[in-house]
């Protein structure tokens, strides 16, 4: 197990492993999301209080849950990067940040859209909402910090430190509904007790769970792809990258100049 882990951590084998895994994650994720959307929009009944507005839950809740999970994952990867100086983990941190920021933004936007009909305002300075906004800024901080350094390795390790320290905000977001009397509703789904005996009608719950699973898989696929790009860019001078990224019958072809746009796997013909 440990040796397997070690081998996987080497960039070329990770690259090939991810290459095989990512398409499966992507396809299954999209299928699940599609199924959930169909069930959620056309099969599930309208809510007796909120009418059809509640259906935004199928986007909001998975996005919000992912926004927290991704930050947590980043900090775990960050810890690995800092303790074992593992390059792959460094790449993992910086490639997760933009995805996390997107999901956070999505959670915020869907939340705001949902807030208008239910609370009568797009935005209130409520603890849950505010701390989620802080989370977005933390993600943006990671992205900005990465760009502030000219050395990719240093940048990634700085981001890892930030991810580690910033993770204190994650429990604050999650428990904000309990610690402050909040407008936002409490955890009815995402807690151990709630999973044991759900309070939601099964026809509404099922699409939600499907959508959750689909989004996680989708995230996995995107993360792997971004990590692949990151690894290629980092290792652009290594032999294995040239073998992958350059046509074999062009021996004089120059190594990749770098830049995210050039490091695509599609270059192999």
């Amino acid at each position: 197990m440990w040796t397997w882990f070690h081998r996987l951590a080497s960039p070329p084998s990770f690259y090939r492993f991810a290459d095989r895994l990512a398409p499966w994650l992507l396809v299954s994720g999209l299928l699940l999301i599609g199924w959930a959307v169909w069930l959620g929009l056309f099969v599930a009944p309208a809510d007796y209080q909120q009418g059809d507005a509640f259906r935004i839950i199928y986007v909001h809740v998975p996005a919000a849950a992912l926004s927290l999970s991704i930050y947590t994952a980043m900090s775990v990867a960050g810890a690995i990067a800092l303790i074992w100086r593992m390059k792959l983990a460094e790449v993992a941190v910086v490639s997760a940040a933009p995805i996390g920021a997107s999901f956070t933004a999505l959670a915020l936007v869907t939340g705001m859209l949902w807030g208008k009909p239910t609370w009568g305002a797009y935005w209130v300075w409520d603890a849950r909402l505010t701390s989620e906004l802080v989370l977005l800024f933390l993600y943006l901080g990671v992205i900005g910090l990465q760009q502030a350094y000219s050395d990719a390795r240093m940048a990634a390790r700085a981001c890892a430190w930030l991810a580690l320290v910033g993770v204190v905000n994650v429990p604050i977001v999650h428990y904000s509904v309990q610690w402050w009397n909040s407008l936002h509703q409490g955890s009815t789904l995402l807690s151990a007790e709630a999973i044991a005996n759900p309070k939601m009608a099964p026809s509404m719950l099922k699409p939600l769970l499907l959508s959750m699973a689909g989004n996680y898989l989708f995230f996995g696929a995107v993360w792997l792809r971004r990590m692949q790009n990151g690894v290629l860019l980092r290792e652009r001078r290594a032999k294995w990258v040239r073998e992958i990224a350059l046509p074999a019958d062009l021996p004089n072809a120059r190594p990749l100049a770098g830049g995210p746009g050039t490091a695509k796997r599609g270059d192999r013909t």
Binding site: S150, D151, A152, R237
Partner: protein
């Protein structure tokens, strides 16, 4: 520890490899004068040896201990608001060293009372360099890593430095030093290491 061995050292800056598999060794009592064109990697090498920068690969054995080495880099490590004396005392306290007579150390590099007490931001280039070199006198340590210590020193400064160097070597110390000018003084145990790769 009387010998420092460096094996197959690889050091890169940004994404260029600056030192590509460098090996050498230095023994007690020796001066290693590191030469090389501008950008050859002299500063980078010393920084790696001092533990200020990580090498990509290679081995340094035994890595000199903190309390056994001196580092005087391009920068003098003088806070401009504090005097040369205060800076020296702070440096000693930082390293847990006791200074018996810091003023004597400063005088040994040619900084007299008025220059010792003035905020070091008000010293001239060469005077600042001397204040940095005073650390070598104030606390005896076996390994000296010096990056262009002669920069800015006047003729008298060079003579003082030559004297210091001679005393240090006689006492069994070793020196790794970069400099674009020849080292002053009689140095029987002088060896050269030329890094002249084009940058």
């Amino acid at each position: 520890m009387s010998r420092l061995e460096v094996h197959q050292l690889v050091v890169s800056r940004g994404d260029r490899v600056v030192l590509d598999g460098l090996s050498f060794s230095v023994a007690a009592g020796e001066v290693l004068h590191i030469l090389g064109r501008n950008g050859a990697g002299k500063t980078s090498l010393l920084e790696v040896l001092c533990g200020l920068r990580r090498a990509d690969s290679g081995r340094i054995a035994p890595q000199p201990e903190t309390r056994e080495r001196h580092w005087v880099g391009h920068k003098n490590a003088l806070n401009p608001s504090l005097s040369a004396l205060e800076n020296l005392q702070f440096w000693a306290a930082l390293n847990g060293e006791r200074l018996d007579d810091p003023r004597a150390a400063l005088a040994a590099v040619g900084l007299l009372k008025p220059q010792q007490n003035r905020p070091s931001g008000q010293l001239s280039t060469g005077q600042k360099r001397r204040a940095a070199l005073a650390r070598l006198v104030a606390v005896p340590r076996r390994w000296w890593f010096l990056d262009e210590p002669l920069a800015g020193l006047d003729v008298q400064g060079l003579a003082l430095f030559a004297e210091l160097l001679g005393r240090h070597l006689a006492g069994g110390g070793a020196v790794l030093v970069t400099s674009h000018q020849p080292l002053p003084g009689e140095l029987p145990s002088l060896r050269h290491l030329d890094l002249s790769a084009a940058a």
